[in-house]
């Protein structure tokens, strides 16, 4: 627990402040509407539901502002770049932007529920007080609209006893936009459920654009001025504390209290969301501009196991290790952008991605390139965007774990190491790398094989065989493969991969590995990087916490997970 806190204190601080702000804003607005004299008469009809509705609206404005910011990738990338002098703990929260986006979304859902329920009560009470002919203060207030000489001075939006709440809702700006915005919100949430998002990504992506509807409806939601409070002038003439008990005498000319006048609360949502909308529009324009720049495909390689490698060049493109780009292919789908990790090193003249067939879009892309039409399909690229892998060279010892196709960011890192070695780069802080690749089937090894082969030879030539210590794990083995391996035990190279390092079968025993590393590097800071499934992240995180010594001078394991 202590280790986790040390790694994540900035994120925790950020979340606690955000939650604290929400609570503070809710309580502040609640108290304001519950105790303010301006809304005394309004409260006569509505009760506490007014305060609940307004407080949740205040928080909704705040959260709707916050939700657009974590998805401005380019802005976050810029912040990350500017913070390159900050230490790694400060930059980590920027990687959790999607988690924050989801948290804010949940908060919006909660406050929407409170807001809607409170307004249901409000409308019901307005309707009842209009129909009640018992001469109470509430019914007198409700009938205020009938006197035209005071002009627009009504309190109750329901003007006649025949108006149902349904009619009132759908004929007012606030009601109609409220229903539309909430429906859009529900659709966005149901299509963003993990199950739908992971398996039917395009559905999620297209439906999520309903946020435009939500934002527009939010902006015009307050236009009707339905929330009404007494005007300053009216409060000066007949303050509710003095006059509320004598409401039956308001119409009498001699009486000091006159009928109160009300004015609607002006819309304020737009003030909150204007800045993030501008930022987001700017972000989308930037993405579009970057995508319009010409991308030249220099090489296409089709690897076994349906893995497509695209090597490309683009003017002004510069990357760091482990970054990712968004790729769009207009001939397959005009609007879809899909993320891919870059598998090339920054030192190379091109940038490359390896695409595996994992759904509609990727299948189509691979098929298009397989068919080798003479003008190659146009590719648009946006990025690169930064992830945690950039930190790998700042750790003395790095443990890299890639599961299946999750090895791709590490391909970029290993290649970069190769180039740095060739140039004898002194800035390389890393002294030792432990690389674990866990894979189900042998076919997927092929393209990575060559890389590891050349690295092996390179290390041998430079006499630094122990810089890179890698182990490959084949989890989808059967007795045939195991039999083969057993038979060829004596051979110098592995039968499956042709590499010097033998393939292991099954999953790694992390406790053994971590204790070995901790014993070999008792005083180092070890960075553990994973690109793989959540269950693996859990076990690695536990091992990191278990094997980090409590003494900060001794071995420390820091866990970093890649997420898309």
């Amino acid at each position: 627990m202590g280790n986790w806190l040390a790694n994540h204190w900035l994120s925790v601080l950020f979340l606690v402040s955000w939650l604290g702000l929400n609570i503070f804003m809710f309580v502040y607005a609640f108290l304001k509407y519950e105790t303010s004299e301006k809304y005394y008469y309004t409260r006569e009809i509505l009760g506490t539901a007014l305060a609940f509705a307004r407080a949740s609206a205040f928080c909704l404005n705040f959260n709707s502002m916050m939700i657009l910011i974590p998805v401005c990738r380019n802005l976050l990338s810029f912040l990350r770049g500017t913070c390159s002098f900050c230490n790694r703990t400060l930059r980590k929260p920027l990687d959790h932007n999607l988690i924050f986006h989801k948290l804010v979304a949940y908060m919006i859902c909660i406050f929407t529920a409170i807001h809607v329920i409170a307004h249901l009560f409000n409308f019901e009470r307005y309707s009842r007080s209009h129909q009640a002919m018992d001469g109470s203060l509430a019914s007198v207030l409700s009938s205020l609209s009938h006197h035209e000489k005071e002009g627009d001075s009504w309190l109750n939006p329901i003007q006649s006893p025949n108006t149902t709440v349904l009619y009132a809702t759908f004929t007012s700006v606030a009601g109609l936009t409220g229903v539309i915005a909430t429906t859009a919100l529900v659709l966005m949430v149901t299509s963003a459920m993990e199950f739908i998002r992971r398996n039917y990504f395009e559905l999620f992506w297209y439906t999520h654009h309903l946020f435009i509807v939500y934002i527009i409806c939010l902006g015009i939601h307050g236009l009707g001025g339905i929330v009404r409070g007494q005007t300053e002038k009216s409060m000066g003439e007949s303050h509710p504390y003095n006059c509320s008990s004598s409401f039956l005498e308001w119409d009498k000319h001699e009486w000091s209290c006159t009928r109160p006048h009300f004015v609607g609360h002006p819309p304020e949502s737009w003030k909150w969301i204007l800045a993030p909308i501008t930022l987001y529009i700017f972000e989308r324009m930037l993405r579009f501009y970057r995508s319009q720049q010409k991308v030249v495909i220099t090489k296409v390689v089709l690897h076994p196991s349906k893995v497509l490698e695209l090597q490309m060049r683009k003017r002004g493109f510069s990357m760091e290790v482990g970054q990712y780009i968004f790729v769009n292919c207009p001939s397959i789908s005009f609007l879809e952008w899909h993320p891919f990790t870059l598998t090339s090193a920054p030192e190379e003249e091109f940038f490359s991605i390896h695409i595996r067939a994992a759904g509609d879009w990727t299948d189509n892309l691979i098929r298009t390139f397989e068919q080798q039409h003479s003008p190659m399909p146009r590719i648009e690229v946006d990025g690169p965007f930064g992830t945690v892998s950039e930190d790998v060279f700042q750790y003395e010892v790095a443990v890299l774990v890639g599961a299946g196709i999750g090895v791709t960011p590490f391909a970029s890192i290993l290649k970069s190491i190769w180039y740095k070695f060739q140039r004898a780069d002194n800035k390389l802080k890393t002294q030792k790398i432990y690389f674990y690749w866990i894979c189900r089937e042998t076919g997927a090894f092929a393209w990575f094989n060559n890389l590891l082969n050349s690295l092996e030879q390179e290390m041998e030539a430079l006499g630094k065989m122990d810089f890179l210590n890698y182990r490959l794990f084949l989890t989808g083995w059967d007795s045939n493969i195991a039999g083969h391996a057993a038979l060829n035990f004596d051979k110098a190279t592995d039968i499956l991969t042709g590499l010097k390092q033998k393939t292991s079968f099954g999953r790694p025993m992390w406790d053994n590995e971590f204790s070995r590393i901790a014993a070999a590097h008792p005083k180092s800071v070890v960075g553990v990087f994973l690109c793989g499934p959540r269950s693996l992240a859990k076990s690695l995180r536990k091992c990191c916490q278990r094997y980090s010594s409590l003494d900060p001078r001794k071995v420390q394991f820091y866990f970093n997970k890649e997420t898309f």
């Binding site: 009560f121 019901e124 349904l166 659709l187 299509s191 199950f195």
Partner: protein, 192 residues
Amino acid sequence: MGQIEWAMWANEQALASGLILITGGIVATAGRFTQWYFGAYSIAAGVLICLLEYPRGKRKKGSTMERCGQKYLTTVVKLFGPLTRNYYVRAVLHFLLSVPAGFLLATILGTVCLVIASVIYLLAAIRGEQWTPIEPKPKERPQVGGTIKQPPTNPPARPPVEVRKKPSVDEEEAASAGGPQVNPIPVTDEVV
């Protein structure tokens, strides 16, 4: 978008609509709003919808994540056979269930969301999708070494005399250069 199974999204949407109907119904009934009996209806309809939609159907391709504890409801939903398997039936059912809730403001949001779910189910039905229950996999205990029994006490039966007299070409090649079998890997006899 060719591989989208609309029913999966319709299922999520219908489940959410059920919850919204229940919430709206509770508000209307507890607050004794005008025509609150529509609220009571909403609660009942919402519960029915949630029970029907909770067990997730099986995806056509790939593995499906079950919802927590859904196997009990799966057995119940399976009992209705074509009524629950067919998505046309579900689309019509949801549409009909949503209509009475449309008369009350507290539940109108549930109506709108349920109508949308009904439309998506209709789309799924037109594309020929069906609800398939997720069956629990029969627990196969891997018989480790189940086929390894006692080593045979008798040597394999000798082939008939005629075959013995004329060994085939294959057998000659496969036979080692006379003498006993040489194991490529040293084998230790682990007799307990």
